[in-house]
């Protein structure tokens, strides 16, 4: 049992995601916009912010301290985190302890990226040294070809067809239609999904996240009113990139997570899993224990399609977009908004408990980072 943090999440905000942001948009301008919006949402004054954490691929060579300077913040606690899809929960894991220990009282966490075409190619080709040395010169063209293999293996092991993955894409698009902030909101059918152009078989366009520019923000404070953190667990590099990639580190921590939280998957009102590809969203739902009997196809048909289980209710990255490192915070922001009753048309009625996963950092074959958090509206 890990000691529960007394820190609470008091606010969440998003700088609108955009496929084609206005001229002059920069990573720091997006992060600043998310910062201003989260202060507006919480009524917290800039002078009260004494902790700042930032996750971004494209802020470099600037760091959190550059942002603190330009935002006019004087942090007692400062942190950079570049762990992509795991960065949001990673930042919370540190920030909540800083608040518990008294290092800071009001922590703003920011996450976001703005990509030009060149930025994105550089990110994909030079993602890490291993990618630059062994993959980009194949050329591998980014993670799609790797996750195409993982998806195909998952299909083979679990007897899945493309239409099974389509249920995730269709369901998330339905949620996105209720989210004014999602970049793709028009409803899609299973036929639309199946007919979308191939990227790398078996992945088609609607299996791949649209790259967007955008930023997300959270505010954490000490004990008081806010969204509680019932449990947070992480395990990174659990298999040294030597497993099948379809069982993530989340599987290793799920038991501890639910035990710490004192609740189980069936009690979750809102679920946010990291959805870089439908196969990985499905893998994490399975790892968390949502599938139970291991019948992935039946789960997708019954729980996702028929019962409309509230998974990735913002539309997720598949429909709302992937704004680089903000992909590690989109599920947190959405879950906080849901628990605060601020999710607008897509509000899940009386949402009290949420689980969010982080996943990512494709070191060689698949994501190495995994973390998960259970949130509660008291």
């Amino acid at each position: 049992m890990v000691e529960r943090s007394n820190a609470v999440i008091v606010g969440a905000a998003e700088s609108p995601y955009s496929r084609h942001p206005p001229e002059g948009t920069t990573t720091e301008s997006l992060l600043a916009d998310a910062f201003v919006r989260v202060l507006e949402a919480t009524g917290i004054r800039r002078e009260e912010v004494d902790g700042l954490g930032v996750a971004s691929f494209t802020l470099a060579p600037d760091r959190a301290i550059d942002l603190a300077w330009k935002l006019g913040v004087r942090p007692r606690w400062l942190m950079d985190d570049g762990n992509g899809g795991a960065s949001g929960i990673q930042l919370i894991q540190h920030a909540m302890r800083a608040i518990d220990a008294g290092d800071a009282e009001t922590v703003v966490l920011l996450s976001g990226d703005h990509f030009t075409r060149d930025d994105f190619k550089a990110l994909v080709d030079d993602y890490n040294r291993t990618t630059a040395q062994y993959l980009s010169k194949i050329p591998h063209g980014g993670p799609n070809a790797l996750f195409a293999m993982l998806t195909r293996q998952q299909m083979e092991v679990h007897g899945l067809e493309r239409a099974d993955y389509g249920r995730i894409a269709v369901a998330q698009r339905r949620w996105a239609g209720l989210n004014p902030g999602a970049v793709y909101r028009d409803p899609i059918t299973l036929d639309d999904y199946l007919a979308s152009p191939a990227v790398v078989e078996p992945l088609h366009r609607l299996d791949c996240v649209p790259v967007v520019s955008g930023a997300d923000a959270l505010v954490l404070r000490g004990p008081g009113e806010g969204i509680r953190i019932r449990a947070l667990r992480a395990l990174h590099n659990y298999d040294g990139q030597e497993g099948d990639g379809l069982r993530t580190g989340t599987a290793e921590i799920a038991g501890e997570l639910w035990r710490d939280a004192g609740v189980g998957p069936d009690e979750m009102d809102v679920i946010s899993v990291y959805d870089d590809y439908p196969a990985m969203a499905l893998a994490q739902l399975n790892d968390l224990g949502f599938v139970g009997d291991g019948d992935l196809s039946g789960f997708l048909r019954r729980r996702i399609e028929e019962e409309q289980l509230p998974v990735n209710t913002s539309g997720g990255q598949l429909s709302a977009g992937q704004a680089g490192c903000a992909g590690g915070m989109i599920g947190l922001v959405e879950s906080v908004l849901q628990l605060q009753g601020r999710a607008g048309e897509r509000q899940v009625e009386d949402a009290r408990l949420a689980v969010v996963t982080g996943y990512g950092m494709v070191l060689y074959r698949y994501g190495a980072c995994a973390n998960a958090i259970v949130l509660e509206r008291p």
């Binding site: 010169k137 194949i138 070809a145 195909r152 060689y364």
Partner: protein, 89 residues
């Protein structure tokens, strides 16, 4: 023609890519092992280029550029283009 994997000088554990420390024993020294043939466990076709997941007999899985007409589960011969493993079906 062959491709390299890396074998821990202390315990003989093979890895690819090379690590800083052996995952099993923590050893710091690795020697090259030349691998001539391997099993193509899977591949994906990007059109101009195919990527494959290639299992060396000593254990490591390599992501390789695949040439020829690949078949899942089939044997491939290995080569290198600089650091990039190349698998010929």
């Amino acid at each position: 023609m062959s491709a390299r994997v890396f074998v821990c000088a202390s315990c003989g554990r093979a890895v690819f890519p090379r690590r800083l420390l052996c995952p099993d024993c923590g050893g710091r020294e690795f020697r090259d092992e030349q691998v001539e043939t391997a099993t193509l466990e899977d591949f994906s076709d990007r059109g101009q280029v195919k990527l494959g997941a290639v299992r060396a007999p000593s254990g490591p899985l390599l992501i390789a550029r695949v040439e020829g007409d690949p078949r899942r589960g089939g044997e491939v011969s290995l080569d290198e283009d600089g650091d990039v493993p190349v698998a010929r079906a």
